[in-house]
């Protein structure tokens, strides 16, 4: 009886911590994104509420909380309500297996690596059902696209996580962290890390893979009909909560998890999560959006073959040198990364330097660059952050 009560209390504490992680992520990261995006675009970000606009997300939260939420008359009321709950389970349930410090894991499962991907399935279901329940053409298209994209990029993600399981010889996340005591897997397997990063960004529906919410064609994708607190749930807590949890997963799988000098476990995790979020924001502010056909081709024709190749090579090295496989694996992985980056740069350069293509595009879209401008361009007003 006493043991049961003790367990219940510690579980409630863990639940509060897990919810707090999602909420902090959902409040801080959108603010950080708007701020940095403003800096990149030479604009002010939110800067009115509090110092540096720091209380902007809280103001937004209060506003969304007190606004009227609308269920469209033609929507399916019940699934419209259920969909955010299904989608919200992903960031909450993934946290169960993440080790936050040496002793703190909510549920130390032996199959943690499979569990993470398996639980991710609820996110796809929630988005698909949200798109369908809205009974809006944009929402439905957004939901379908999102589901198709997420399932396509889940395969490279799965295959990459298998590489981590092979290196760690375990599917328990605590063991994965313990094996990275001397060297992080990002140094051993940069190729796996890059595939995981790209597939993860696609899985999170972030730029350059944010087609499901392509505002220029689909209004807002599957969240078009969601308003007020329901919108806040989907946009703030589910999407940015997923970014936070994905950062936690990446840190655990590739960057040594909670391990690090000087700081405590949760502090190191926070640093690594912020780093991953900054990478996503950087992608957001620099890359243009892909087309649907390019998006699917990239998953099936590039990422899946690369991850299968990586898996086979890692397996080969571990079989050949069961004791010191780290060095050959690292050599293979780093050289593969260099070759791929070189090939990519060469391709991009070829496209950019293609004179006929370039001139044609310029004539079509930026004729003023080819002819003299009609008058002097007025000087731009300098704006700081």
């Amino acid at each position: 009886m006493i043991a049961g009560l003790e367990y219940l209390l510690s579980f409630l504490l863990a639940l509060v911590i897990a919810l707090a992680v999602i909420h902090v992520g959902g409040l801080v990261f959108p603010y950080l994104m708007r701020r940095l995006w403003g800096f990149v675009g030479d604009r002010h970000g939110p800067n009115r509420v509090g110092p540096f606009g720091f209380f902007q997300p809280i103001a937004d939260g209060i506003k969304l909380f007190t606004k009227e939420d609308i269920t469209p008359a033609r929507a399916n009321r019940w699934i419209f309500l259920l969909a955010p709950a299904i989608a919200f389970s992903t960031p909450l349930l993934v946290q169960a297996v993440i080790p936050f410090s040496e002793s703190y894991t909510i549920a130390d499962l032996n199959i943690g690596l499979v569990y993470i991907v398996a639980v991710g399935a609820f996110g796809v279901l929630g988005i698909l059902l949200a798109g369908w329940a809205s009974n809006n053409k944009y929402s439905l298209l957004g939901g379908l696209r999102s589901a198709a994209q997420m399932i396509s990029y889940e395969i490279p993600l799965l295959l990459t996580i298998i590489v981590v399981a092979m290196l760690a010889d375990s599917m328990n996340l605590g063991d994965v962290v313990a094996r990275q005591e001397n060297v992080w897997y990002i140094a051993v397997q940069p190729l796996a890390f890059i595939v995981f990063l790209v597939a993860g960004v696609a899985e999170l529906n972030r730029t350059p893979f944010d087609l499901p919410e392509a505002e220029s064609e689909l209004v807002s994708g599957y969240i078009t009909e969601y308003s007020a607190m329901r919108f806040a749930l989907f946009y703030g807590l589910v999407e940015w909560g997923n970014v936070t949890v994905w950062g936690l997963t990446t840190a655990t799988l590739f960057m040594g998890g909670w391990r690090g000098p000087f700081l405590s476990g949760p502090q190191w995790l926070a640093v690594k999560v912020i780093l991953m979020a900054l990478i996503i924001i950087w992608f957001f502010s620099t890359f243009p959006r892909l087309q649907v056909d390019q998006l699917m081709a990239f998953a099936w024709k590039i990422l899946i073959p690369i991850s299968i190749l990586n898996l086979a090579a890692t397996g080969l090295f571990i079989t050949l040198w069961p004791d010191d496989y780290l060095v050959p694996t690292a050599i293979f992985s780093w050289s593969a990364v260099i070759i791929f980056i070189a090939a990519f740069t060469f391709m991009v350069k070829k496209i950019l330097l293609n004179k006929r293509l370039g001139m044609k595009a310029r004539e079509e879209y930026e004729p003023w660059l080819l002819h003299k401008p009609p008058g002097p361009i007025p000087p731009r007003r300098q704006t700081g952050l």
Binding site: L82, I111, Y115, A118, L128, W132, L144, I151
Partner: protein, 166 residues
């Protein structure tokens, strides 16, 4: 606490049966699909109770993550209205009742009076033991699985190509 409480089994089992009934009873296909997803998740819970962790995760990954998406796509692909629709294939219910009863009796006999040999060790087999048996003892059937998957893949491609031509 090495054994689960029987209450957990009855709770999950009851939920699974209720969801399975929901799949058949709901008139709206999407509701049926959601009940089916709950049913799949519940079965994964039963695997957990039986200490088959890997199977539970595989159940979630394949059934909830992949097959339910496939079924949702299939429902959304077909022309249907939510709400009342004429379900013409429900007219055979008179024939279904004795058939279902027969299956129930057959299952009850096999499960209730059948003999199963399983040691306590094999019931609590970890992932490593499962993998060991799968890749050593059943290596050939495992390779055949890849052929089955290949056949399914080719079938899917041919079906899609036919649809595209139309």
């Amino acid at each position: 606490m090495n054994e689960f409480h029987p209450l957990a089994f009855y709770l999950i089992g009851g939920a699974v049966i209720a969801c399975a009934l929901g799949v058949v009873i709901f008139k709206n296909l999407i509701y049926s699909a959601i009940a089916m997803i709950c049913c799949f998740s519940g079965i994964s819970g039963i695997y957990v109770l039986l200490h088959a962790e890997l199977l539970a995760a595989a159940q979630l990954l394949i059934y909830v993550g992949a097959i339910s998406i496939l079924i949702l796509f299939a429902i959304m692909l077909t022309r249907h209205r939510s709400g009342n629709i004429d379900i013409f294939f429900h007219r055979q219910s008179w024939a279904a009742i004795p058939l279902v009863l027969l299956v129930f009796v057959a299952l009850a006999i096999t499960l209730g009076w059948g003999r199963y040999q399983a040691s306590a060790d094999s019931l609590h087999a970890g992932t490593r033991q499962v993998a060991d048996v799968l890749f050593n003892q059943y290596a050939f059937p495992f390779e055949v699985v890849s052929l089955v998957l290949l056949a399914a893949m080719i079938g899917a491609v041919i079906l899609a190509a036919k649809e595209r031509k139309r």
